[in-house]
Symmetry: C2
Amino acid sequence: MLSTRKKIVVIADQLIRMKGYNAFSYADIASTLNIKNAAIHYHFQSKAVLGKEVIIASREKFKENTTLWSSFSSFDQVNAFIEMYSNNSKNNCICFMGALGSSYNTLPIEMQQELTDAHEEITVWLINVLKLGKEKQEIEFDITAEEMSDLITSGMLASLILDRVSKHAVLDNVKRTLLKRIEKKN
Amino acid sequence: MLSTRKKIVVIADQLIRMKGYNAFSYADIASTLNIKNAAIHYHFQSKAVLGKEVIIASREKFKENTTLWSSFSSFDQVNAFIEMYSNNSKNNCICFMGALGSSYNTLPIEMQQELTDAHEEITVWLINVLKLGKEKQEIEFDITAEEMSDLITSGMLASLILDRVSKHAVLDNVKRTLLKRIEKKN
DNA sequence: GCACTTACTTACTAATAAGTAAGTATATTT
DNA sequence: AAATATACTTACTTATTAGTAAGTAAGTGC
């Protein structure tokens, strides 16, 4: 059983990824958890603080995941990373980077900073996996690791968004294409 | 000199791509154009109608552009398409597909439908250019045209978003990588 | 010169937003 | 047993939201 505080973060996270930061309200959280509006304010001074907490929780989950994957081959680590994004699509959700990045200009500065740090953290990890994988000859690609990292994160972020908009399966197409791109030939 | 009606659509478009559909208000438009709140309602019955009009205007601009590009080589057409996305980055804006797609679940149905149709229109055009280009041997790629189309639209949509979040130039990396991907070798 | 339309403004409404101050019930500490 | 902290609720405030009803001023058509 989670504490109310943790439940609020979980619900806020889902609401942000389902509706966006500016479209969800304290009333949405309160009604879901059967508590009152003011109870949220007891745990979080402001919406900005709650929003920042949601990003922090996502960063912690990411760190946990990468630790779990650390014994995997480079290909499997990238694959697990891609699958982590795919899992967001449950309940009509997108990833937190897409949900918050798309309204970056309207976010309170503390959330902007946390989001930028989160992106940096993800990018540093992915570039490292790609570089090491190339060295170890577990994967191959003909562009720089930085370019490959941007291609993967961009592709996954957007295909979650476009999967909601489009009639066909954008996510599946992009996943397949990206993995094919780093796969060893012969 | 544009009519007030057209000015409202232009400003609404910029606001949507800068702040998102749920973060902009009639007050934002009114203050920019030095008119009153109610004047917007005179031209558009509701925010949903205005939002739909913004998508329609974008679709018309897209059709104009593709007509202008029709004499270009396949590579140059894809390049022009990518540059069209890049131009969105002025004034801290993203593309309308990213701005509206990321809050798809909160949009009124008429906007959802118009956005889905817009995506379909863009995809049909791009797949066609890619297929013809491959036939004419003006470009080359080792995946299907459908996969390549999804990779390009996803990459451009997301790199505009991540360019705001990231410290480094995601947009440049993705643009370069995508063009390299279809470029003829030798 | 009168009817009618166009393009607004003034003045408002009802709903919803985040946030707050003060009170309460329960458990924990001393 | 008294004091204190925890985890809320009740009741509210202030600001902002989209939207509306009624009025007006400047043209247009006849």
